[in-house]
Amino acid sequence: MPCFQLPSVHWIFEVEAPAVIEISGLTTRFGEHVVHAGIELAVRRGEIFALVGGSGSGKSTLLREMILLQQPDAGTIKVLGVSLENISDPEALALRRRWGVMFQHGGLFGALTVSENIGLPLREHSRLADHLIDEIAAWKLAMTGLPPEVGRMYPAELSGGMLKRASLARALALDPELLFLDEPTAGLDPQSADEVDQLVLELRELFGLSVVIITHDLDLLWQVADRVGVLGSGRVQGIAAMSELADSTNPEIRKYFDGPRGRAAQAQDVRLAEAGAAWKTR
């Protein structure tokens, strides 16, 4: 369900833009290989938007283009109301401070402890006192459900699930308006994956975040995402809530639902919904 609550944080002066990300006519080529052939996409403020698609469908490339790591060949991308085309360096810096990115493999700096990693954006960009930065880093770490001892460890000493949480804590360091999560549950055990699902929902509540998730995790799609965009053959094959996509007849989308995993995740969602309804009527 789309959720249009106001962000609890930030910038009441700003006129609320209807969309945090607007992409139109986006084309990307690698040599002869066309990855994106005219992508149209809009992510609304305050929603959790998931981007799915088979391997090689250009999800990661699209993410890299949204976060200014790569230039598309044609088309426009507007993030938080700022066009990424010909963006000047100061504008890019200002924009980068307004979003947080959690990379698939964490992207934590191996030479720094977890707490130094989390505090780094604050230390670099703000003029806060050092002890404050340490306290805020410890708070962000606690928000992601990690025990305080983890702050003193190095990324190489962490397990996969801890790494993702620590990376999420760093992405939250500057209280972003927009959060990009690349495969937040890949490689996690089911319990950790469930916890990450819950964490994303809680953080959205707390900060009024808009979230863009790239994922293959069907449970995440059913339980967390408000809307899902399916990439296939270089285009967006459909954008809708998961329950609507499940009724789609588009063969590119059907691939996602017709496998045994797809059906299991859907059945799980139905069971949870029934349990929820039973709880309410009781």
């Binding site: 200002a94 191996g110 003029r127 806060l128 708070w139 001892e149 939250l172 707390l206």
Partner: protein, 377 residues
């Protein structure tokens, strides 16, 4: 960052009332907290805080605000917040909870800094452990070598040839240039002294013996340690990081056999050859310098060179090269195998491999000198 947002401020419009304004955010707060108005609010009595002016609040701001309120409350008296925008309430509540939690369980203090004695002790234990691991590594490599020699069919010729090219042929220009320059330096340094005694011709002895016995083998080994030893450590280190070494073990392959032996065999073969090349160019450099500075003709120089330099001098120089080669390969590969963690570790191990192998090459050279003088060679 919004440059147009005013920085966070605390004002005191009248006694007993504080007015907060500006951006209470990571970018709107400078230092620990906004400057307090003077005189400070009276400790006792009710304090009214007017929060209507707060234009933006993020978690940094919420944290600062809550710690500030906490301090006011601790000073005694009640504190009331008025007109806080409702959308900020949740974050402030969250900061409040966090503050209570962290007050209840203070973060455990960082690990204490080691006393000098403990640091020395830990360093020694680490060094001993490394020495033991090196010994184990040498043993494993020797076993792999023995297995290969017992079944010559298992020797991997293609990587050996590849290593001969990358560590040997590709190093010819740099080894040649540096030994040529070294030959020039030796002759140049000796020239003045020899001329004083009219012993110009002995420049051939000086250049010949010093290059063949010492400088050529040592210089070549040091260049190769820097050039190839570091490459070995970096290659094996990044393979260890990406779990390729573990993959080899699980596939029943012996990493030493695949990664170490080809390098070892190639370098043991190639380093003496490079040393001969360095000998030739070093003597050539000395000969040119002798002609330019001491008027020693090329024919004279070579004639004297043949008399002064015995075959033993050449062989003692060349004999060291295979030992240096083993040191370089074993240390480079060993440090590579000890890589754990990420990119940072690869860099550290690579540096270590170069430092350790150059150190050990020079130590070995010193031992050779002692041994040769004892044997009267």
């Amino acid at each position: 960052m919004r440059p147009n947002l005013p920085i966070a401020k605390i004002a005191q419009p009248q006694p007993g009332e504080l007015a907060l304004s500006g951006a209470w955010t990571a970018f709107g707060i400078v230092g620990s907290e906004p400057p307090l108005p003077t005189p400070l609010p009276a400790a006792a009595g009710a304090l009214r805080i007017d929060a209507v002016g707060i234009a933006g609040l993020d978690s940094a701001g919420a944290w600062v605000l809550e710690t500030f309120l906490d301090r006011l409350r601790a000073a005694g008296g009640s504190v009331e917040i008025h007109d806080l925008r409702p959308e900020f309430g949740r974050l402030l509540d969250s900061a409040r909870q966090r503050l209570e939690v962290s007050a209840a369980n203070p973060t455990p203090p960082a690990a204490p800094v080691l006393s000098p004695a403990a640091a020395v002790g830990q360093g020694s234990v680490a060094a001993l452990e490394q020495g033991r691991a090196l010994l184990a590594f040498v043993g494993e490599t020797a076993l792999a070598l023995a297995a290969c020699l017992a079944h010559p069919g298992r020797i991997r010729w293609r990587p050996i040839l590849f290593n001969i090219r990358s560590a040997g042929v590709d190093a010819l220009p740099i080894v040649g240039l540096l030994s040529f320059l070294l030959g020039i330096v030796v002759a140049y340094q000796g020239a003045d002294q020899l001329r004083q005694y009219g012993a110009n011709i002995f420049v051939a002895d000086l250049v010949g013996l010093s290059m063949l016995r010492e400088f050529a083998p040592l210089m070549t080994a040091i260049i190769i340690a820097g050039r190839s030893g570091s490459a070995y450590a970096a290659q094996i280190g990044s393979m260890a990081v990406s779990e390729e070494i573990d993959a080899m073990r699980t596939l029943g392959l012996v990493p030493q056999e695949i990664l170490v032996l080809p390098k070892l065999l190639a370098l043991v073969l190639v380093l003496p050859l490079l040393t001969v090349f360095a000998d030739v160019l070093g003597v050539l450099g000395g000969m040119l310098m002798a002609h330019a500075r001491l008027d020693v003709g090329y024919a004279e120089f070579l004639e004297r060179f043949l008399k002064a330099v015995s075959l033993t001098a050449l062989l003692t120089g060349l004999g060291k090269a295979p030992v240096f080669a083993m040191i370089i390969v074993v240390i480079g590969c060993f440090q590579g195998f000890r890589t754990v963690g990420g990119a940072d570790s690869v860099g550290r191990q690579t540096t270590r491999s170069v430092v350790h192998s150059i150190f050990l090459v020079i130590v070995a050279d010193a031992l050779f000198s002692v041994a040769f003088s004892a044997l009267d060679l």
